[in-house]
Symmetry: C2
Subunit: 352 residues, 2 copies
């Protein structure tokens, strides 16, 4: 189950409301969505792959994935991942009451697809046999304050590598993130989950009564009709699945994984992924088109149709798109969403 | 006589080889060339206005100025201002042996056209009556290292404000420029000259024998035929008129002027002209098109068709053109010509 509902504001102006990050060739020749589909194919038959997305992207998702309309779950409202995961679990459970879901984000970057598939299989075995919700825990490589963390608990019995979760923590401040990094038993909560649909829905009932109530239309005869979906989404709370269910559940295990992972969530994280600031190109990286650099250091250039010429500048992101040129600093101190909000307030929706 | 032969590389990518700075609306609604023509009209009849330019711009100059082809002197080779001024003086002297020329650059910015005209008239009176070459001396407003200076000598007799020149100095280093600024008797040599054509040519003969020899074809019967012009330019040295003649002459006076002047020679000088770093727009200035600024300070944006969005950056120049996006720092440490040279070496003439 690939969740492709992201708005991708933090990657503006490369990502837009009608072309979010999952449709971009951010790293490599494939779009992030195509790469996610390829990864999923390593452990799932094609007819077991589902995608959930917003109505505005349904057509593009169907085209990119080749999936039949029946396996593209079109969310009538943006309700964040708790509702998406619950609907998906309900829908799949209806076909196979014992179904085990791997819930993936459409816009993550995982270079080692083989290691990823191996770990998903291991997590799926635990989820199938032990009635647990498994979250993959990625080893932190920097004191990131933009992610949630899981504190890894004692090893679970009967399965290699799987552990209990001591606790979930929301995005920490800088000093806390540095402590987590030093301490070693904290992992990034990467938002990749594996569970038996029925187990997840039982936890929704127990831990997220609002969400459970919203799902009522699905429990009636007829199930997932368009009308039922609309009724359910109307009532559903807007919450991430971590907050609504995972943090409150005592049935969560984590699989600490060692493969490289990035949510490519910001220009800064893309820059780190691409090695900006390192290597023998004076630390510069150029994507997409052409750049001419003179005395420029540690810049990330997202070039388009035009030549991007940088003279004597450092630590910048320069993005050229058809209608917007965007320049910001690579220090992580500025949030693109402030700019996006400003444009929205000004009624400049054509740029979003 | 308006010299419009500049290549305008320092203003790349707004200026290009086929559209140098004088054709841009850099400050205000007029192009710099149009503004120069307007200034000239305040003290010269329309049929006394001449322009010298390169062959590649002759058509655009004729169109912009409305001058007949006979008063557009098309330079067959780029030979800098000494040859342009000498040819112009020769050409005009042929029509009127007593002609006094005001030699103006096509791409300077002088907001107070009335003061300018008044000073040119005064200089012209001195040049006509005293057989001197007059250079206008602009009061320095910063320790500029990109200009030549004149040290102002004692007052000339018989004319208000005109002074002898103690010496010319080439572009000084930083400490020297600061000393000139503090000392008060140094002026920018703005490259605006007033002389009687015959006096200038006599000084060429005395001080610049190479240039004088190159002018030989003009002294033959027939004068300024195309063939003569080509022969003269082939032999002419490539030198600025300051170096070839003015610095070596003992007949130079200066008129210290108080009007504001800028050669808009670099992005930095345009930024200063526009007040970047001052005012209640967080020091930002936007030309041409549209910018969206969030947490951005002291930037100069030359916008085009696209929206330029700046987030959390400061002291930058961001230029959007049809085929190039250019970003540099406003610290004056980087020379655009290095980038232009790099593109030329790479054979990217279509961008120049």
């Amino acid at each position: 189950m690939i969740l492709a509902g992201g708005a991708g504001e933090r990657f503006w102006p490369a990502s837009r409301s009608d072309r979010p990050k999952q449709f971009l060739r951010v790293l490599g020749r494939q779009t992030l969505l195509d790469a996610t589909l390829s990864r999923a194919r390593r452990f799932a038959r094609k007819d077991r792959i589902w995608i959930a997305c917003g109505a505005e992207h349904a057509k593009a998702v169907r085209k990119a994935s080749g999936l039949p309309a029946s396996r593209v779950l079109v969310e009538p409202r943006r309700r964040n991942t708790a509702m998406a995961a619950a609907w998906a679990s309900h829908r799949v459970q209806r076909i196979d009451p014992d179904a085990v879901l791997a819930v993936l984000a459409a816009d993550h970057h995982v270079p080692d697809a083989a290691a990823f598939a191996k770990d998903i299989r291991l997590a799926a075995r635990a989820a199938a046999e032990e009635e647990v919700l498994v979250t993959l825990g990625v080893r932190p490589t920097r004191p990131e304050t933009g992610y949630g963390y899981v504190q890894v608990g004692p090893r679970a019995r009967g399965f290699p590598r799987l552990c209990r979760v001591r606790r979930f923590v929301e995005k920490p401040d800088g000093p806390t993130a540095r402590r987590y990094l030093a301490q070693g038993d904290y992992r990034w909560n990467a938002g990749i989950f594996v569970w038996r649909a029925s187990v997840f829905l039982a936890e929704v009932e127990r831990r997220a009564p609002d969400l459970h109530r919203a799902l009522a239309p699905f429990r009636r005869p007829g199930g997932h009709t368009r009308k039922a979906v609309e009724a359910a989404f109307r009532r559903a709370p807007t919450l991430p699945v971590d907050v609504a269910v995972m943090e409150r559940s005592d049935r969560v295990w984590t699989l600490p994984v060692e493969f490289a992972w990035s949510d490519v969530g910001t220009w800064l994280s893309l820059a780190e992924e691409l090695g900006v600031g390192r290597g023998n190109t004076r630390g510069n990286r150029v994507l997409g088109g052409e750049a001419v650099l003179e005395g420029a250091r540690n810049n990330l250039v997202w070039a388009g149709e035009r030549v991007v010429a940088l003279l004597g500048v450092e630590d910048l992101v320069v993005v050229d798109t058809e209608d917007v040129i965007f320049v910001t600093k690579l220090d992580g101190r500025s949030d693109v969403r402030r700019l996006v909000a400003k444009l929205r307030e000004a009624g400049r929706d054509e740029l979003l």
